[in-house]
């Protein structure tokens, strides 16, 4: 573990990504403390509508007169919560399905992978729109819709990796030695494909975040007035280009967060290559 941290610090891209992520996560966790006007984030102040950035509201105000800086900070919570829930359920559903389908490789695995492929064949965002639309806009339905559409990414990856690693001699020899399926799957196969899963997951975080912002943009995310980056960008369109700060702030926040995950994912891919692993 300390070795991993050391190599992340030594890797410029990974370090930059990690710092961005730490920053965003810290802001999200401490949001109510940092936000200069937490009470002004979700309330209506007609006298302060669409004010440009100033010393009072450093990122300006929106059409409701709420402080945009506070809303962006509180929105980080919302975005990270949705993303974390979706990615966790994607891993929890997708990885075991991929492992079992890949290792046992029976009729059931063909069926499971068939389902995954059908879900992958439909554009993810359209499927997610259909699901959220039928469930009604809320955080829960966004999480559910994105989880249903994203688990096949892990299942496919893990399935393919498991199939290829099952042909390796060390797996065959472990089976010949009498190792149980449980032992082979969790002690030999999973650790050997873990780095691909980790890399896939960090990359998926970025796409999930975009997808949840897209749903918010289309009005299918958490209902107003709760702060959500996608919805904020959608609202700002009417006031462009005069109120440029209105779109810029949530857009920049989304950009920085996704960039952080992409950089970190790229860095991890380099670091976790097994050929560079050393014992001492």
């Amino acid at each position: 573990m300390t070795k991993l941290i050391k190599s992340i610090i030594g890797h410029r891209t990974a370090l930059a990504g990690l710092l961005l992520l730490v920053l965003v996560t810290a802001i999200a966790i401490a949001a109510p403390l940092i936000a200069p006007h937490p009470d002004a984030a979700e309330s209506f102040h007609i006298d302060r509508r669409l004010m440009p950035p100033s010393s009072e509201a450093i990122l300006g105000t929106d059409r409701m007169g709420s402080d945009i800086f506070s809303r962006v900070i509180l929105g980080a919570r919302m975005t990270l919560l949705i993303t974390a829930a979706v990615v966790c359920s994607g891993v929890i559903i997708g990885v075991p399905i991929g492992l079992i389908a890949g290792y046992f490789n029976t009729g059931l695995s063909i069926a499971l992978m068939g389902v995954a492929e059908v879900l992958l064949a439909v554009p993810q965002i359209i499927l997610a729109i259909a699901i959220t639309q039928s469930l009604g806009p809320s955080i829960g339905s966004v999480i559910l819709a994105l989880s249903i559409t994203y688990w096949p990414f892990w299942a496919r990856l893990v399935y393919a990796e498991t199939r290829s690693i099952c042909n390796e001699i060390f797996v065959e020899s472990a089976i010949a030695l009498g190792a149980s399926s449980w032992r082979v799957i969790f002690l030999h196969i999973l650790p050997n494909i873990a780095s691909s899963i980790v890399v896939r997951t960090t990359v998926a975080v970025g796409t999930t975040m975009f997808a949840s912002a897209t749903l918010g943009f289309l009005g299918l995310g958490p209902p107003p007035p709760s702060p959500e980056w996608g919805r904020m960008i959608a609202e700002s369109r009417e006031y462009l280009p005069e109120a440029w700060w209105y779109a810029a702030a949530p857009g920049l926040a989304l950009f920085v967060t996704v960039l952080g995950f992409s950089l970190f994912g790229d860095g991890l891919r380099d670091i976790l290559d097994p050929k560079t692993r050393r014992s001492g």
Partner: protein, 325 residues
């Protein structure tokens, strides 16, 4: 071959291992007879070599013995008891007694595990020994195969090719097997390493009183290591007997070509004497008659119809219609 008192340690009776050839849409298009009707036996402490060219089924035979493939037909007996039949999981005790060593025994190590963990694993699976007990055994075996204690904390890619093979051997030996099946133990090693690996294999045979079945295409290797030789061609044993007999007075034309193809210093040119044109037929295309007839210099019309059986005279067996005592 004159000890009928105790049953042979390992006995194969009419063992076959066939693979279906799948055509379009997974339809069965034919059968690949990788191992076909092989019978042989091994006495305790003996070393039997199996030779043959690529595709002759020697590796499949080894893997069937090692429990990696299930036999399609026939019986394998270990000390008189049948151990492998179709569709039955082999008990752990049998797996420990009869072990298969991969061509590249180092490849049986998980790249993400230290050597110590890899060597502990067989004992974790097969015994309920304490950590200290296992560690003592691991150290003993590692020492026996010539691995230093500090090697145990390394990952496989940090070891040399020769050390990886030692580690692969150690992984087999911690369980205390009786029979070890070696599959091409020297392939892919340069000559100096080959010699040390062979010396090691010879050494542990004495040290642990092992019975060997050694698969190789290199006649020199098996010739120097084994008491008896079996020659395989297209999944069948075409000749079997004491090493000196088989190499000195080969009875089957195929064995003769193999022996003739060995280069000797000061001997005649190998290419001048090679009486074996072409390639073996694809094992699925065999219908009847002798499998070797397409390349045989002495084949007759009868060979296209009659499938020769292994005839054993004075402990030396041959499957050829043309052979006369």
């Amino acid at each position: 071959m004159s000890e009928p008192s105790s049953p042979p340690l390992l006995e194969l009776e009419r063992l076959s291992c066939h693979f279906p050839i799948r055509g379009l849409l997974g339809r069965r298009a034919g059968t690949l007879r990788a191992v076909d009707d092989v019978s042989l036996s091994l006495r305790e402490g003996e070393a039997l070599g199996i030779v043959g060219e690529s595709g002759s089924g020697k590796s499949t035979l080894g893997k069937t013995l090692g429990g990696i493939h299930d036999p399609t037909d026939g019986v394998i007996r270990l000390a008189g008891e049948p151990i492998a039949t179709q569709r039955s999981r082999r008990p752990l005790s049998v797996r420990a007694r009869l072990q298969y060593v991969y061509q590249d025994s180092g490849a049986s190590l998980d790249q993400r595990w230290t050597l110590r963990r890899s060597l502990h694993e067989p004992l974790v699976i097969h015994t309920d020994w304490s950590r200290e007990h296992r560690e003592a055994k691991v150290r003993e075996i590692a020492g026996a195969v010539g691995l230093a204690e500090e090697h145990l904390d390394l990952y496989p890619h940090e070891l040399s090719g020769g050390q990886q093979r030692r580690a692969g051997l150690a992984r087999i030996l911690v369980l205390g097997p009786q029979i070890v099946v070696f599959d091409e133990p020297t392939s892919g090693l340069d000559f100096s390493v080959q010699a040390t690996v062979l010396a090691l294999i010879r050494g542990i045979r004495r040290m642990f009183n092992l019975t060997y079945l050694m698969i190789s295409h290199d006649l020199n290797v098996v010739g120097s290591m084994c008491d008896r030789l079996a020659v395989m061609y297209l999944g069948r044993i075409v000749e079997i007997g004491p090493t000196r007999e088989v190499l000195g007075r080969p009875r089957h034309p195929y064995t003769r070509s193999l022996v003739d193809s060995l280069p000797r210093i000061g001997g005649p040119r190998v290419t001048d004497r090679l009486g074996m044109p072409g390639e073996p037929v694809f094992p699925a295309d065999m219908h009847q008659g002798c499998g070797y007839r397409t390349r045989c210099p002495i084949g007759t019309l009868a060979c296209t119809r009659i499938d020769p059986r292994l005839v054993i005279k004075e402990a030396h067996g041959v499957a050829c219609l043309e052979w006369r005592p």
